[in-house]
């Protein structure tokens, strides 16, 4: 148990996670978009129990393609969270996908903020 963690250390970890996520997403932008679509579909639609493993397999395949060497990105962390060996209850898949999308949303906002881009009408 890491009992001596400080908020500052966690903030530093989070920044590293965002940076690793940016590198990974930049390498595979298409897969990144597909991942978000698939996670959103899982959150919004019911899944037959028979489709659970193929669905998770597909999701994990995308996550590991994005960060194959485990550089500590959001994809890396969630490929472990979503793995069937780590989900104790099948119904938690939806929660994990919602959580993944919330983190990716925070990542997208962080990335947009860094670029200072403005839309010209």
């Amino acid at each position: 148990m890491e009992s001596h963690l400080t908020v500052r250390e966690l903030e530093s970890r989070w920044k590293k996670t965002l940076t690793a996520t940016q590198t990974a997403a930049a390498m595979h932008p298409g897969i990144y978009r597909d991942l978000k679509k698939q996670a959103a579909a899982i959150v919004e639609n019911p899944i037959d129990i028979n489709d659970y493993f193929p669905t998770v397999e597909k999701l994990i395949d995308r996550l590991t393609t994005l960060d194959p060497c485990g550089h500590g990105s959001i994809f890396d962390i969630f490929s472990s969270h979503i793995s069937p060996s780590n989900i104790w209850q099948v119904k938690l898949l939806r929660m994990e996908c919602k959580d993944l999308l919330a983190h990716l949303d925070a990542f997208d906002r962080w990335r947009r903020k860094k670029h200072h881009l403005r839309r010209v009408k």
Partner: protein
């Protein structure tokens, strides 16, 4: 919260728990940081029971998954030990969320063991979850005291007062001890005797356990606590020694 943080709140439906999470999140707190932490889960004695995971529970609350929380048994796995708050770098009060989650379930559908213990405590003035009546408690205390005074001459002067007016300390007692392990009452008496403490039990409100708190039944929790407080006040005791 700045723009980088996970946004709490959604347009589609209102969520009780999102608001609760906002309330307990300290100034400058950022729930994104939980992703690479998990100290609460590592420190929780209930982690793994029925898949219980305090970090996931917090996430469910932050994501507004109220229905899932209400249906889940996770809140009932928590012992309210508060170790998660102690280890959390942001001191997020997860047990408060657990308490709120317990209150979501209709009283009669809450776990039988806790419910029964709370109801038992409301039956008489002892506030004992085992239903021990005041007379029985007084009898056991006097009987055990007499036995030890005789068997151990060095403690012949030891006292275990009940309803002693003006004592310095009002002591409570888990009712399992007088009922099933009366000899376990004695070590604390000995310590207080050797320390020269002026203390007393109350014939009412002596039972220290409060299952109504674990049941998230505020009214009953208050009733049990008030019984103890009223007895201490009635005796003019200023300091309450909570052994639970």
């Amino acid at each position: 919260m700045n723009e980088e943080l996970i946004q709490l709140g959604g347009k589609k439906k209102s969520s009780t728990f999102m608001d609760k999470v906002k309330e307990i999140l300290p100034e400058g707190g950022n729930l994104n940081l939980c992703l690479t932490c998990g100290a609460c889960s590592s420190g929780c004695p209930a982690t793994g029971l029925d898949g219980m995971d305090p970090r996931k529970f917090l996430r469910m609350a932050a994501l507004g998954l109220d229905d899932e929380i209400a249906k889940s048994d996770w809140p009932w796995m928590c012992t309210m030990c508060q170790r998660c708050i102690y280890v959390c770098p942001m001191q997020i009060d997860i047990p408060q969320l657990v308490f709120n989650a317990r209150a979501l379930r209709p009283r009669e559908q809450r776990p039988k063991g806790i419910l029964g213990s709370c109801d038992m405590a409301l039956r008489n003035e002892s506030t004992s979850a085992m239903g021990t009546a005041p007379d029985d408690f007084v009898f056991v205390v006097e009987d055990v005291l007499e036995e030890y005074q005789e068997a151990q001459p060095e403690f012949a002067d030891m006292q275990a007062p009940i309803d002693k007016e003006g004592a310095e300390f009002f002591l409570n007692q888990n009712s399992r001890e007088p009922v099933t392990e009366p000899d376990e009452l004695v070590p604390l008496w000995k310590i207080l005797h050797l320390a020269g403490a002026d203390w007393t039990y109350g014939s009412a409100g002596w039972a220290g356990e409060n299952y109504c708190m674990f049941l998230a039944d505020n009214d009953s929790w208050e009733k049990v606590t008030r019984t103890t407080v009223n007895q201490a006040n009635k005796l003019g005791v200023k300091t309450f020694l909570n052994t639970e």
